[in-house]
Symmetry: C2
Subunit: 331 residues, 2 copies
């Protein structure tokens, strides 16, 4: 059995990412007919004319999570937290959550009840109570699909990074991916790594605080790994991004593969944003005091296109997937 990363969106025989891009392009045409739609496919969430922000995030058992890794309550809470992170990525205020769950009937109802309770607790804790959804019988694997609703006025987008900006991240990276790597090798992860994976913290208040004080020019949440997500900002903003890999703040539980895990492991749900250093530096202490996490400068934005990595050895292209120990079929 080839273990699968819970974050990969690429499966045997189907290039989901390519189709997803084609879908984005196709539905962008359709979305253009929505009166006043501010942001359509291609950002972390859609934004309607009145500032309503919407995002939907589906997690499939055996692909995105495993119930021999985390409890049903953690799986439910995690699915909601990951969806809420898309609101953070727009600097949106959470309003409400809809939850759809497909659960294999033969597995009994205790796990389902725990999953629902875990999802409800996380949703309520972040100010987005569950107001509706669906509950159906699954044909095999459990599926958790979460729709989150927020308000942003205005949203902070992936597009907007300007040459001369620096790139910043919140918190420390790599711990959640280290847990997945451990499980995938049949080992038990460190408790802190397990916690980072099982109970991710969407940076909702942090994002709104940053939008108010620092006014980032571009913002995204780190769901696919820093290498992939910085690429999204560079592409959407029409700029070149360079990561100073020696500056990337690694979580102590990320282990010896920490840098690769931070770049390509995903599941950190920290924020990545672009802002001029002079706009960020006055707020570094206030952010750390308020949120108990650091803002760290991890790179720069220049004219051009594409993404690069820079360290004392020089500057070179940033590979798309730097870490493949447990990637299965990823291309």
């Amino acid at each position: 059995v080839t273990p699968r990363s819970p974050r990969i969106r690429l499966g045997d025989g189907v290039e989901f990412e390519r189709i997803s891009r084609a879908l984005d392009a196709g539905i962008a045409d359709a979305a253009a007919t929505v009166p006043g739609l501010r942001v359509g496919p291609g950002d972390d969430a859609a934004v309607l004319a009145d500032g309503t922000v919407l995002s939907q995030d589906m997690a499939v058992e055996g692909v995105h999570f495993r119930l021999d890794w985390i409890s049903p309550a953690e799986a439910g809470g995690r699915a909601v937290a990951c969806a809420l992170s898309d609101l953070a990525a727009m600097a949106a205020e959470p309003v409400a959550t809809l939850l759809a769950v497909a659960w294999p009937g033969g597995r009994g109802e205790a796990g389902l009840q725990e999953l629902l309770a875990g999802a409800g607790r996380v949703a309520a804790a972040y100010g987005a109570p569950i107001i509706g959804g669906d509950l159906v019988a699954a044909a095999g694997a459990a599926v958790i699909d979460v729709t989150v609703v927020g308000r942003a006025d205005p949203p902070v987008l992936r597009a907007g990074a300007r040459p001369g900006d620096a790139l910043w991240v919140t918190g420390r990276l790599g711990a959640a991916a280290a847990a997945v790597a451990a499980w995938s090798c049949g080992a038990d992860p460190e408790p802190a790594a397990r916690r980072a994976y099982a109970t991710p913290v969407p940076r909702l208040a942090e994002a709104r605080w940053l939008a108010r004080h620092v006014r980032p020019s571009a913002l995204i949440d780190l769901s696919d790994g820093l290498a992939g997500d910085v690429r999204h900002i560079a592409a959407a903003s029409g700029v070149r991004a360079t990561l100073d890999t020696e500056r990337i703040p690694l979580h102590p539980a990320a282990g010896s593969d920490g840098l690769d895990l931070a770049l390509s492991g995903g599941d950190d749900y920290e924020l990545l944003f672009a802002a001029a250093t002079t706009d960020v530096e006055p707020w570094l202490d206030a952010f750390a005091d308020r949120f108990g996490a650091a803002l760290t400068r991890v790179g720069s934005v220049d004219t051009g296109a594409g993404v690069a990595r820079r360290d004392r050895g020089g500057t070179r292209p940033l590979e798309r997937t730097g870490f493949r120990h447990f990637e299965g079929e990823a291309t």
Copy 2:
């Protein structure tokens, strides 16, 4: 292999309906903390303070649809149409759709592309273009989860039916369930029955027209069968509902089991509403002319509780599930 109805929400060993009710009750408490939430769990959709209407509807291959019954394009379109029908049930105007699909990678991408295209066509046709969503690898069965966004000012709810009102339905019932019944017996359905199942028509314009002209006191869409859905109106409105079963308009393709299929077969996606006969009669011809479908009086609303069926043989309790040929594990 016991064939399963695509509409049942009850699986082996788990009483999804009971858990769903408990969930509704539990999250109603949480939802009460959403500022200005107008309608929470328990109606066809949630309504935020500003009139934004939200509903999420999950369809699982092998449980709610089968790809040896309908094409991927039909499955995608049908999932969107069923979700949009929840907006019709609130007399809401469609605004946008989010679509999440889990697709088994090993099955190749042609079917996925067709599914996405079918979903996109139906969403655009009803004025709710797809503006976002998710696309992930499935672990087995395909899953289609649709979130629809609309506006209603005001929404028409399940609660509100008054003693003295009559009960009305749009269109003709039983054809979609006849198709499922045929497939479940290994037979090919009649073309009209197949069409009713594969390409349901959400009564969006009809619902808004009715809200403007007839002003129904209560409204719901027929997804679970007339017997179940009239029970929802009776319970939410605190009234007794009696169906005149001989008046129920059966689709010609519903066959000899038509009445049972209409009562318990589901998947009709017609509207059921309560309104005084004097408020409806002036509009009967205009509705038929405009929408090519009839409004039919099918029962009455009285003081009391519960639901009954009435015919020339008398009045008796309306059983919860009148038709069980293909219900599998339904209770």
